[in-house]
C-alpha cells in the first residue's frame, strides 16, 4: 500500500528516488519553456498563459490520479504529506512572492532550471532567493506570532473545509481548472487580435510587436480530450467511491490497529493531568461509563458519552484533544476503533482506564467513592496540583498538539 517507506531500499534509496524525481521535474519544467523569464512573465502580461495551463493541468492531473489510487485502495491519502494551512502568513507570503516573481522573472524551481541552462538571470535569482531566506532566518523572531498563529488551521483539506466527499471536491477543482483554461485561451486570442490591430494601425510599432510575438498554437482538440479524460475518470471514480468504501476502510482499520498496538493512542494518567493544566489546549474528556457511574463520580469537565450514541463525538471540533475514559482500556479501545474509523481526529484513550487514574490520584479507596453521588466534587476529579504531578515519575507523552507543525514531518519546500 502506497506511499512506501523508501528507506527499505537502503542508504541510497531515498537519494536515488529523489534525484530521479527531480530530474523528471526539471526536464518537464524546461520542456514547458519555464527556463525563460520572458516566457514566465508573459503570464502576467496576458499574451502567453502557459504558466497557468501547465500548473493547473499538473495539479488536476495529479489530483485525479491520487483520487484514482485512493478510491481503488492502493494509496493511503491520510498518510500523504498535506501542507498545513497557515492562512495569514501563507497569503501575505504569496503576495510578496508574486511581486518578486514579476520583478525577478522566476520562482525558485524555474530559476534553478534557468541556472542549469546557463541563464545568468536565473543564477542571480537563485542567489537572491538564498539571500532572502538568510534574511528571513534573522527577521522571523520579529514576526514569530504572525508566522505561526495567523489563521493556523493545521492540516486542513478542501474535503474537510467544504464538507464534501473527495470525488466531488476533485470534480469541482477540475471544473475550476477548465474554466481557467477557457479563460486563458480566450485572453490569448483577444491579445492576438489586439496585437494585430495595433500592428495595422501603427506600422512604426509593427516590427517591435512582431519580435515580441510569441507563437501560440490552438489547443482545442487537446483540451477537449483532456477534459473528457479527467472529467470521465472523476465521474467513474465518484460512482465507485461508495462501493469501494470497505476497501479503503480496511487500510484505515489496519493503521488504527497498528497505532493501538504501538500504544500511540494511550495517554498516561499523568499526561492527562498535565493536559488539564495546559491553558491553550482544547481538551474534551469523554466518559463512556454508565450514566449512574458518571453521576457518582467523573473527571472534571468530563462529558458523558453514551456508548450507543458515539456518533455525537464526530461533531466535536477537529482540533480539540479528545480523551476517551471508561472502566477499562478495552472498553475505551472499542469506542476508539469506531470513532477513528469515522475519521475523528486527535482522539486518545486513557491508558488503563479510570482505575489507573484513581490509583494515582485518589487519596481514598476507589470503592468509597462509588457509594457517593459526588459528580466532579470529589477531590480526585480535579487535575492534581503541579507539585503533586512533579513528584510522579516521568511518562512518555503521546498527545500531539494539533496545528503545531504537520502530522508528518519532512514534506513540501517550506523547510
Amino acid at each position: 500500500m502506497a506511499p512506501f517507506d523508501v528507506s527499505v531500499l537502503g542508504r541510497l534509496g531515498e537519494p536515488l528516488v529523489s534525484v530521479l524525481l527531480g530530474m523528471a521535474f526539471g526536464f518537464v519544467l524546461e520542456r514547458s519553456g519555464f527556463g525563460s523569464a520572458k516566457k514566465l512573465t508573459s503570464q502576467f502580461y496576458l499574451d502567453d498563459m502557459t504558466v497557468l495551463k501547465v500548473m493547473f493541468t499538473a495539479i488536476v492531473t495529479a489530483m485525479v490520479l491520487v483520487l484514482f489510487a485512493t478510491t481503488i485502495g492502493i494509496l493511503d491519502y491520510d498518510r500523504l504529506f498535506v501542507n498545513p494551512t497557515y492562512l495569514g502568513s501563507g497569503i501575505l507570503g504569496g503576495l510578496i512572492f508574486g511581486v518578486g516573481f514579476v520583478i525577478g522573472g522566476f520562482c525558485p524551481g524555474t530559476a534553478l532550471v534557468a541556472a542549469a541552462t546557463l541563464k545568468l538571470d536565473g543564477l542571480l535569482f537563485v542567489l537572491g532567493v538564498l539571500g532572502g531566506i538568510f534574511v528571513f532566518g534573522y527577521t522571523v523572531p520579529e514576526i514569530d506570532a504572525f508566522w505561526n498563529d495567523s489563521g493556523n488551521y493545521g492540516v486542513l483539506t478542501l474535503i474537510d473545509w467544504l464538507g464534501l466527499p473527495m470525488p466531488v471536491v476533485v470534480a469541482l477543482a477540475v471544473a475550476l481548472a477548465f474554466a481557467f483554461f477557457a479563460g486563458g485561451e480566450w485572453i490569448e486570442a483577444w491579445m492576438r487580435r489586439k496585437r494585430a490591430t495595433d500592428t495595422t494601425n501603427a506600422p512604426a510599432e509593427g516590427s517591435e510587436a512582431a519580435t515580441r510575438h510569441t507563437p501560440v498554437t490552438r489547443h482545442r482538440p487537446i483540451l477537449r480530450r483532456l477534459a473528457i479524460a479527467l472529467f470521465g475518470t472523476t465521474v467513474v471514480l465518484g460512482l465507485l467511491w461508495h462501493p469501494l468504501e470497505s476497501r479503503r476502510k480496511g487500510a484505515l482499520a489496519a493503521r488504527i490497529e497498528e497505532s493501538i498496538r504501538l500504544r500511540k493512542v494511550q495517554v498516561d494518567p499523568r499526561e492527562l493531568a498535565d493536559l488539564y493544566s495546559e491553558p491553550k489546549l482544547a481538551l474534551v474528556v469523554l466518559d463512556l461509563r454508565s450514566e449512574a457511574e458518571y453521576n457518582r463520580f467523573h473527571l472534571l469537565d468530563a462529558k458523558h458519552l453514551d456508548a450507543t450514541a458515539l456518533s455525537v463525538a464526530t461533531t466535536l471540533p477537529p482540533k480539540s484533544i479528545k480523551v476517551l475514559v471508561a472502566k477499562d482500556e478495552a472498553q475505551e479501545l472499542a469506542a476508539y476503533r469506531h470513532l477513528a474509523l469515522a475519521r475523528v481526529e486527535n482522539l486518545y484513550v486513557l491508558a488503563g482506564g479510570m482505575p489507573s487514574w484513581m490509583r494515582l490520584f485518589s487519596p481514598q479507596d476507589v470503592e468509597t467513592t462509588r457509594l457517593l453521588a459526588l459528580g466532579d466534587k470529589h477531590v480526585a476529579s480535579r487535575s492534581p496540583a503541579h507539585d503533586s504531578s512533579s513528584r510522579l515519575p516521568a511518562y512518555v507523552p503521546t498527545v500531539k498538539r494539533p496545528g503545531l507543525g504537520s502530522k508528518k514531518s519532512g514534506g513540501g519546500c517550506g523547510g
Binding site: 512572492f97 525558485p108 510569441t214
Partner: protein
C-alpha cells in the same frame, strides 16, 4: 524551423502539464510527499550559516529547525531532488539547444538593471517562500494536488500579487 523561437522544442502546455502531474503523482505515490525547491535552498542557507557561524544555528530557531540535528542539513530528500532538477533541466535544455549562456531581459532595460532586478526579485521571493512555508512547487503544486486549503490560498495570492504589480512594472518586460 524558426531560429528566433524555441517554440517547436517546447511541449504543448497541456501535455507538459499532464507530464508534470504524472511526475507529481509518482512522487506522492512512492514517497508520500510532493515536489519542492525552496526548502532545499533553505537547507543550503542553513548549511552556509552552520559553516560560517555554527553558534548562529543554535541561537536562531529558524536555522536550528533545519540544521540543529545530528544529521547533516544537506542530507535531505529536497536537496537530492534539487540536484535532480539541475540535471534534468540541463539535459532538456541541451537537447533543445537552449543551454546557452545568456541573460534574458525586457527590451527596455539594460543588462546591469536586469541583473540587479533578478537579485532583488529573488530576495523578495526567497523571503516570501519562508513566510508562506513553501514556493510554487512545494506549496502551490504539491499542496494544491492533495487539496490543502492553504496551498490554494497561497497560489491565488501569488497570482494576485503578480497581477497587482505587473502593469505598474510593465517597463521591465514590455
Amino acid at each position: 524551423m524558426n531560429e528566433r523561437s524555441d517554440a517547436p522544442r517546447t511541449w504543448n502546455p497541456y501535455l507538459a502539464g499532464v507530464a508534470l502531474g504524472v511526475v507529481l503523482f509518482t512522487s506522492f505515490f512512492v514517497t508520500g510527499h510532493g515536489l519542492g525547491a525552496s526548502g532545499a535552498l533553505a537547507r543550503l542557507v542553513t548549511f552556509g550559516v552552520d559553516t560560517a557561524a555554527p553558534k548562529a544555528v543554535d541561537t536562531h530557531a529558524f536555522f536550528a529547525a533545519l540544521g540543529g540535528g545530528a544529521r547533516s542539513t544537506l542530507s535531505h530528500w529536497l536537496v537530492w531532488e534539487v540536484i535532480g532538477i539541475l540535471i534534468g533541466g540541463f539535459l532538456s535544455g541541451l537537447l533543445a539547444g537552449r543551454a546557452r549562456l545568456a541573460m534574458e531581459r525586457g527590451p527596455r532595460i539594460r543588462p546591469t538593471t536586469r541583473a540587479a532586478l533578478a537579485l532583488l526579485g529573488g530576495l523578495l521571493v526567497g523571503w516570501g517562500t519562508q513566510l508562506s512555508r513553501g514556493c510554487t512547487s512545494g506549496q502551490a503544486l504539491s499542496g494544491g494536488a492533495v487539496l490543502a486549503v492553504g496551498s490554494w490560498a497561497f497560489m491565488f495570492a501569488v497570482f494576485g500579487g503578480a497581477y497587482m504589480v505587473a502593469y505598474p512594472l510593465r517597463k521591465l518586460w514590455r
